[in-house]
């Protein structure tokens, strides 16, 4: 019996690359800060998927890739918390959250 298609490293790398490209696209053209934050989450998910895929196919004896995926999740959570706090402050000050018009953050 042939190996099933999900035992193929390239498919997972392709999905991670697709997420990276989508994240770059959204980060560049979104107007609001929340849209940019969502795009950054996509990029971080692609990175985590690549870590797990390389751990599965390149070195199946240890669990370093899985541990670093958990670290990536923690970093993403901390980043989302701080970024959303800043976004709400920016909204209270400027009454909008468009990235283009925010030129100064402090008096």
């Amino acid at each position: 019996m042939a190996t099933p298609i999900y035992n193929n490293l390239y498919l997972f790398l392709f999905v991670g690359l697709f997420l990276l490209a989508c994240g770059i696209l959204g980060l560049l053209y979104r107007r609001t800060l929340i849209g940019m934050l969502i795009s950054i989450e996509l990029v971080m998910n692609g990175a985590g998927l690549n870590f797990v895929a390389f751990n599965r196919f390149a070195s199946p004896d240890n669990a370093y890739g899985l541990a670093f995926t958990i670290f990536i999740m923690g970093i993403a959570a901390a980043e989302a918390a701080i970024a959303l706090g800043i976004i709400i402050l920016i909204f209270k000050r400027y009454r909008h959250i468009e990235g283009r018009d925010i030129k100064e953050m402090k008096d």
């Binding site: 298609i5 999900y6 490293l9 390239y10 997972f12 790398l13 999905v15 690359l17 997420l19 990276l20 490209a21 989508c22 994240g23 770059i24 696209l25 959204g26 560049l28 053209y29 107007r31 609001t32 929340i34 849209g35 934050l37 969502i38 795009s39 989450e41 998910n45 797990v52 390389f54 751990n55 599965r56 196919f57 390149a58 070195s59 199946p60 240890n62 669990a63 370093y64 899985l66 541990a67 995926t69 958990i70 670290f71 999740m73 923690g74 970093i75 993403a76 959570a77 901390a78 989302a80 918390a81 701080i82 959303l84 706090g85 976004i87 709400i88 909204f91 909008h96 959250i97 468009e98």
Partner: protein, 168 residues
Amino acid sequence: MSLPEIVFLLVMFVTMIGALITVLSGSIIYAMIGLVTTMFGIAGLYIYLNAPFIAMMQILIYVGAITILIAFAIMLSGPHYKRPKEWTTPVKFVVSLIVSLISFVVLFKVIMNAQWMQTKAKAFTITTENIGRVLFDKLMLPFELISLLIVVSIIGSIMLALIAKGEK
């Protein structure tokens, strides 16, 4: 083609279509729903990679926590009719698309041309116990640094909320 392969292809396409919805939808709420779809798809891919613990953490942290944070931020930042449309000028969209496609094509060629060190025909039997041992034996310092980072971010969020209320 067997049933697991069909399900795998389905999960893969759900992930990619969710990413496209996340990026291309005009409303930010729909973008958030697309992000949830992508997260569930990636959890399915983790299960196909024999990492069910990571899949569970993905659903708990991303779908459960980060998406709810984003939903709070969307609802706290103004009514919907005042919010600007997400579509910017076509020139900006085309330029962003060109940059994204260039990075996609270059990295795709790199992936296809590289010689990845693959170990064939070996079962992947990493359990949650192995992850815990690696986390607390070998990667002790990064683990503590991550907890420090999260504490700092919690304190920072509280400080930002106090500034927003006017107390310093």
